[in-house]
Symmetry: C2
Subunit: 255 residues, 2 copies
């Protein structure tokens, strides 16, 4: 049987340990091609690069794996992978990450990791964003690996359906302490901004964006709850942002 | 009665004609504060600026209107507006645009205009992204204005509910030719990438992102259909991206 093909990207950049861990797991299951940003792209959301051109270079970052670094955003990487790198081939799966840090709950909006996966799903390719709840560069991805492998296998076997998108977050727990996988909804939360004001050497004011994560859920079943309880959260996600219940209410009111 | 407060932003930059047209309409209905990018930010999606600081300058771009330009993305503008400019005040409404060009259908994902509005809605403020289907800098916003005014009035009167988000697109038609307003769902479409390859003066390859918009809808009720028929499309949208039908299927299968 022909081996399947997985496209891999991330938002922490091609040199981040998270992506090399993901490549290591994926290549046991399928052929792998990597197209990832040449520099960290955290918080880039679904941004695309329109006003400057993109560069694409073949690199030897992963042993025996075809890999390219791109000057663009994570979404750019998926687009240029599909059009220039893969040409007439389509991957069976696109995976993104493993992100250094949480993309659970509202973080999905800001996340370059999940946006890259979403772009692939818009194009009809099943896609998964993986994130570990540890922001440090030397995060330990080992305990996550068997679960990441299982989810990729399930996706390759068609468990989630074609063109679907999963947002997977993994609690930062030691080997053996992760309790399992839970399918969840996106938790309700927001970042409360706290801009830090400072003065540069030329006497000009500037601001660093920072914030406090505030969970607002009152009901059970969220990704935040699953992670808190030691489970991996898998949120099936979509790019149709229509609020159907409000749409129905507005159309009924008109009648 | 105390006049209401509207926060205005956009993604084409504070000097774009679209935002000055929006300011003109909004100030007839409420007090207005503008915080907008100091340069064009098209295609920035929900990107936030994490690795560099932000600058914020008070400017006199609109007569008798408090306005600030910010070095960040549209979402940054909303965040810094809420925390630094408005401090303890909350706007009654946030409006973004009027964008030069369509943000209908899948364009909502890439749109800085709608993402800025979405950020306000995440923070609990009702928000609207307005876009005109004309990419040119000297687009004619006049035919759109009475409709934009009506939608802002409805929002200020609580018609859409607190913290809700609308993606409004306006067909590029002459005065009197716009047929009315339709509440719709997000159309199903995608961009087919077509990267244009070129060689720079140093002999290095580079790529311009371009693409072909491909509508895929087979059923009625989409924003693309409404626009095509000469109506303004209003898509109630949301930031909960959970695919509840897939979630239910996965959880049922497990049992």
């Amino acid at each position: 049987m022909k081996r399947k093909l997985i496209l891999i990207t991330n938002d922490d950049g091609i040199a981040a340990p998270g992506i090399s861990n993901l490549v290591e797991v994926a290549r046991e299951l399928a052929d792998v091609i990597v197209v990832a940003p040449d520099s960290p792209q955290s918080g880039k959301g679904h941004a695309v690069t329109l006003s400057t051109p993109l560069r694409l270079h073949k690199v030897s970052v992963f042993k025996d794996v075809e890999a390219y670094e791109c000057t663009g955003t994570p979404v750019d990487c998926v687009k240029i992978a599909m059009d220039i790198v893969l040409k007439n081939r389509r991957p069976d799966l696109c995976i993104s990450g493993i992100n250094h840090g949480s993309n659970a709950s509202i973080n999905i909006l800001y996340s370059g990791t999940v946006s890259a996966a979403m772009e692939a799903s818009v194009e009809g390719t099943t896609a998964i964003g993986f994130s570990l709840l540890d922001y440090s560069f030397d995060a330990n991805f080992e305990p996550a690996k068997p679960f990441v492998k299982k989810i990729i296998e399930d996706a390759l076997n068609g468990k989630f359906g074609k063109g679907k998108l999963l947002n997977v977050n993994i609690p930062n727990l030691p080997e053996g302490a992760i309790k399992g996988i839970k399918y969840c909804r996106q938790g309700d939360a927001r970042w409360e901004e706290e801009f830090v004001e400072s003065i540069d050497p030329r006497g000009q004011k500037y601001y660093w964006m920072t914030g406090k994560f505030v969970a607002r859920d009152t009901e059970s079943g969220s990704d935040l709850e699953a992670l808190e309880a030691g489970y991996i959260s898998v949120v099936p996600s979509m790019h149709d942002l229509t609020d159907y219940s409000l749409l129905e209410a507005l159309n009924n009111r008109k009648k």
